[in-house]
Amino acid sequence: MQDKEATVTTVRAVSICSRRIASLICKLTLCHADDCKWLDSYTLVCISRGEERTDVYALKGRLEEYIDPRILSYNYPLIPGVHVAIIAAGQVALLLGLLQILRLESKITKGYAVINRQAEKLFLYGRDVLPGSIVELSPPPYSECVDRVAVLSLEREPLGWGRLIRRGNRIYIQNLVDAGWYLRSGV
């Protein structure tokens, strides 16, 4: 669910994200990092299409340092920073942008899987990770993390997000989104 961007003509409401959403992003960060201090130096901006979908963006600094917030009421289509999450139908999809921010501002210390070189190639082509390709696994610490892991290369560079699938005593990683998407997206 990395992105199916709506057309320009879709009606959107743009606002600073509520405390509820900020708190949710913090909790999801804590699935993979020791703290969510990075949020202190970012503004989360939410772009909502009614109740259907909310796109969450993270922008360094405060919004008013970029533009007068009153401009939001002019309904210019906006991209306010890095796209980090999509909230739709009660589900949260974390995006590649959040991984890049965690890489820059924090450190991934839990909720991750390191995979071998061959699996890295396949994962970046959109494939899942087979059990024998997992070199190191730190399972997500809380049930709210819904078995999501940051998939890392042997050099611990973030390759994408995955979900742990347990079949008997074997663990697979379902590919949720990978950095190869940037090439496949066609945009």
Partner: protein, 343 residues
């Protein structure tokens, strides 16, 4: 040029100039046209090159375009990686690379076993593909580390993300009239971890509604005549094509100046080698706006701007613009002019 009469005057000037150029160079231009059919040139175009550069230089330029003698380059994303690291990683995969001659975080790709835009390192945001002369626009602007920076025609955000790596603590506003290009910018900003960019889908001629900025980059829509080394860059440009671009470029420059803080700088860039879209339109602007000066950009390369061309009025200060040409620099055709608004 805020009304139709003024725009018509510029169009007439350019058409009249083209007529003079044709009467001087027509037969020579026809010989050159016949020599380079694969470049898909217009007679007007060849005549303009002869007028701007003289026969020898014009031929050398077209020969370089014809052989695609333009370096391929990548820009290391210094937010996430060091040039030495990217160099080593790509060399281990069979790439042959050299340092960019003018910019410390640029690498020239001499040989690629796979497309350089398809590696894991590209996907992870360690670098991006960018033309060797295009990469000089941001250093030429030399934007401040803090404050507000505007990228007026941001497109897919290649230069916008370069602004971000140059000034990661500044606040960058990026505009484009094409929403699909801004979607590409969104992806590039995410891939390259450029977290200080706010992009707006709007016409950059309304940029003044966003307040004033400390530095502005205007990579203006242009004829693209500097891209003749590319298959997609090869289409015939008549003087009417050029005139319509000049009108838009002038409107964008006026809007940029209006949005610029006193003391701030605006960098005007085009991937064009025409005098009409560069020194001429800058001269029009300077004549119209008292508080502007052209400055030499702080980059170690480039030929001076052209100050004598047909019968067009071009100010001497246009010599401070910088031109890049394939047969001199091994780059795409590119022109940069830096303007400061006096306090």
């Amino acid at each position: 040029m805020e009304n139709i009469a003024a725009e018509a005057k510029v169009r007439d000037e350019l058409l009249s100039s083209q007529e003079r150029i044709l009467s001087k160079w027509s037969s020579h231009a026809k010989e050159i046209l016949a020599r380079y059919p694969h470049l898909n040139l217009h007679l007007h175009q060849v005549a303009r090159y002869l007028e701007a550069f003289g026969p020898d230089e014009a031929l050398q330029m077209l020969e370089a375009f014809s052989k695609s003698a333009v370096m391929k380059s990548i820009r290391v994303n210094t937010i996430l990686a060091k040039p030495e690291e990217v160099l080593e990683r790509l060399q281990s995969k069979g790439f042959s690379l050299e340092k960019h001659p003018y910019i410390w975080y640029g690498l020239i790709v001499r040989n690629e076993p796979i497309p350089v835009g398809a590696t894991h390192e590209y996907m992870l945001g360690l670098y991006t593909v960018q033309g060797p002369a295009s990469m000089l626009a941001v250093p030429a602007l030399d934007p401040p580390k803090f404050g507000r920076i505007l990228d007026m025609c941001a497109g897919a955000g290649v230069k916008t993300t370069q602004l971000s790596q140059h000034s990661p603590t500044a606040r960058i506003v990026a505009l484009d009239i094409n929403w699909r290009k801004l979607l590409a910018l969104k992806n590039n900003a995410s891939r390259l971890a450029a977290t200080n960019i706010l992009a707006i889908h709007m016409d950059a001629r309304e940029a003044y509604t966003l307040g004033t900025f400390d530095a502005i980059l205007l990579d203006a829509p242009c004829s693209g005549e500097g891209l003749l080394h590319l298959e997609k860059g090869r289409w015939p440009r008549s003087i009417e094509d050029i005139a319509s671009r000049v009108q838009l470029q002038y409107q964008l420059l006026k809007a940029g100046v209006r949005a610029l803080k006193p003391g701030g700088t605006l960098l005007y860039a085009t991937c064009s080698v025409t005098v009409e879209e560069n020194e001429y339109v800058i001269s029009l602007l300077l004549e119209d706006e008292e508080k502007l000066v052209v400055e030499e950009p702080p980059i170690p390369a480039g030929l001076p701007g052209i100050t004598s061309y047909s019968n067009l009025n071009i100010l001497p200060d246009a010599a401070k613009c910088r031109r890049f040409l394939p047969h001199h620099h091994g780059t795409e055709g590119f022109t940069l002019c830096k303007i400061r608004k006096l306090p």
